[in-house]
């Protein structure tokens, strides 16, 4: 693909893997890392808000599933990832791509269906990939990414490259039969895969209670002997700690692990969601009491890792990145009509 030109103020490069242990805070995480997590979550939040705006302007079409509210999950998991790890998820994928360090310009340009998008405009919001960043999509068939992610883990083990697969799915997807087929093989063959269930309480308009006979989703691997843990997915440090534990187990060759992240999506399922299945108080309560970004912000201030001025600077930085991405995504041209017939088969 035509690699999207790198924005001068590009997304913060996060270092996967061993972080330098300087200036440790009470959480045991150093100040530099905490600030980095804050930036990454804020980038996702602002990026998604901007995507929502562009959708409203008719610049983004079709389905567009925003990740607002769930930022701590993927940022925390990536804090526990190594460079060679692979990541795969559903259609609610913008946050995962940004957390994998993919270029916001390229992601936004894909949302607007332009030639400088990650898939040259041919994939859209639900279908982006980056071999370079080991991000394997972006899948629109609910649950289908779980066998695929299990296959990525199979490849890690086969090649003995030390990597593990992070395979994400929703609380709705978790009832898909193919997920249990995958659990079975993953445990049978001790594949290095972390299944991350993002339990945001709803699959479209169906609450988990109305869709699932059992709602303790971290136990869904029990009949295969796969251990699981329930995690406060609104608390990035809890996510990171759980992710590190699960990853260590996978890397030690002990097979798969299930992490159920209790989280919440603030916006509709996609842009055209009338939200009649939950009341406003429910949403505003979560927003007020357990917003992942506000949470970390409070911690940063309390631990004197940052003051208001520093945070304001970060805000400004992120805003500039997102504004630049939106401009890039509008300036980029639509794909050449000749692209209609390219990328169907590779030359043998």
């Amino acid at each position: 693909m035509a690699k999207p030109p790198n924005n001068a103020k590009s997304a913060p490069k996060h270092k996967k893997g061993a972080a330098k242990k300087n200036k440790s805070t009470s959480s045991g995480v150093n100040a530099e890392d905490l600030l980095r997590f804050y930036r990454q979550m804020l980038l996702i939040r602002r990026f998604e808000e901007k995507a929502g705006q562009l959708y409203g302007m008719g610049l983004i079409g079709g389905f567009c599933h925003l990740y607002i509210g769930q930022e701590a999950v993927v940022v925390g998991m990536m804090a526990a990832a190594n460079k060679q790890d692979s990541v795969i998820t559903s259609y609610r994928d913008h946050g995962h791509m940004l957390a994998c360090d993919m270029d916001p310009n390229g992601v936004m340009a894909e949302l607007t269906g332009r030639r400088d998008g990650y898939s040259k405009g041919k994939g859209g919001s639900m279908h982006m990939f980056s071999r370079e960043k080991n991000f394997y999509g972006g899948h629109g068939i609910v649950g289908a990414q779980i066998p695929l992610g299990t296959g990525l883990a199979f490849a890690h083990k086969y090649k003995e490259d030390g990597g593990i697969a992070h395979a994400y799915c929703g609380d709705g997807a978790i009832n898909q039969g193919q997920i249990y087929e995958s659990f079975n093989m993953a445990e049978l063959w001790k594949l290095p895969v972390i299944y991350v269930i993002e339990n945001n309480r709803y699959g479209m308009g169906t609450s988990i209670e109305r869709a699932s006979a059992t709602t303790e989703l971290y136990q869904r691997g029990a009949s295969f002997g796969i251990p699981g843990a329930q995690v406060d997915g609104m608390d990035i440090l809890a996510v990171k700690a759980a992710g590190e534990k699960a990853a260590a187990r996978c890397r030690a060759g002990k097979g798969p692990f299930i992490l159920e992240m209790k989280t919440y999506r603030y916006r509709g399922h996609s842009m055209s969601d009338p939200a009649k299945y939950r009341d406003k108080e429910e949403v505003s309560k979560v927003r007020k009491e357990s917003d992942p970004i506000d949470n970390l912000r409070d911690k940063l201030i309390a631990a004197k890792v940052a003051d208001e001025a520093t945070l304001k600077d970060i805000d400004k930085d992120i805003k500039a990145i997102v504004t630049a991405a939106a401009e890039f995504a509008q300036a980029s041209e639509e794909p050449d009509p000749a692209e209609l017939y390219t990328d169907i088969l590779l030359e043998a």
Partner: protein, 452 residues
Amino acid sequence: MATQILMPALSPTMTEGKLAKWVKAEGDKVASGDILAEIETDKATMEIEAVDEGILAKILVAEGTEGVPVNTPIAVITEDGEDVGDIGVAAVKAPTPAAPAAAPATAAAAPRPSSQPAQEPDYSGPTVHISVREALRDAMAEEMRADELVFLMGEEVAQYQGAYKISQGLLDEFGPKRVIDTPITEQGFGGLGIGAAFGGLRPIVEFMTFNFAVQALDQIINSAAKTLYMSGGQMGAPIVFRGPNGAAARVGAQHSQCYASWYAHVPGLKVVAPWSAADAKGLLKSAIRDPNPVVFLENEILYGQTFDVPDDPDFTLPIGRAKVERPGADVTITAFSLMVGMSLDAAEALATEGIEAEVINLRTLRPLDTDTIVQSVRKTNRLVTVEEGWPTAGIGAEIAAVIMEHAFDDLDAPVARVAGADVPMPYAANLEKLALPTVDQIVAAAKSVCYR
């Protein structure tokens, strides 16, 4: 800087809506996430939220207004302390109108592959006489020796040596890391294989039969076939899905279906259906080396049949090329898999009546070797298509359409189709026989297009 709030599009199809209610009033302070207004579309009432914090300085569209077009400015938000007078300065970028899409190309205008695959190399070296079963096994073994990344997985492929003994000896030679028995979970291991291909491996996924692959059809189509396109060319799936396809004998409706036209329908797949042992070996080796997903349709009845095969580890056959198995000037017969042998028998019978049939072994169903068929029809002016599967939307229907597009003026008779009966496969021996194409039917069809 002041920013204008525009009437948002709240669904993929919305063009206008009603501004039902302002939740905030002029002069109110708003924070990011605050609900500003309620908008009614034809489908639902939805709320719009503030993205930035500031003051709702001015409402431009009163509540209750109907038919407000998407993108109309409806309000202005200013930063704290900013003068509303600045509003005019904040130019709202109008959304760039999408350039009109290029006129959709008709199917016929779709570019043909620029480089036709190489013609089958002439081979005059030594040959061995082996079964289709052995040819398939040898192809896999040779490719596994050549490339560490190639592995075989499927039900009963390892310890049992293959439900149809295709993988005989492979476990012994390559070990359990590369020859893997799977649980009976087609969707799961179908998808797992594709993920492994994304991850850089070269899987061969054996389906015990293609009847069961339907459980993995979503993964084959939505994950294997479409990802290269959806990723703008970044990520393809080099994988082979293979196993017996079509009717065996007396196994009833659920175990006796030909899926050729299902897969041939899908861009992003290659679909191969070998007949002889040489086809099987040469094409399977090419399929394993191919960087694309290849659906490789075998036939249980052919597994035990023997043919001469080039005795050369470098022997391969190009995917995308048909083979004229028997030349003839009077009528063209196209066939694939088991039907090739029957068509050759029919040609033999036709010859005794003075009709020389040209029999084309299609070998690949996608991409179809249109050139070879068209060239033949230009010569014979008559065409009979033969397939074991159902006629409706089948391979014969496709070939008939292709010939209309490319050789209409060359036809001296309407194209005739010989296909399986349009019914689920019956069990009773006499009914099953009636449901499958016969040599006699092929002969009769050939004679009818020759008006004999």
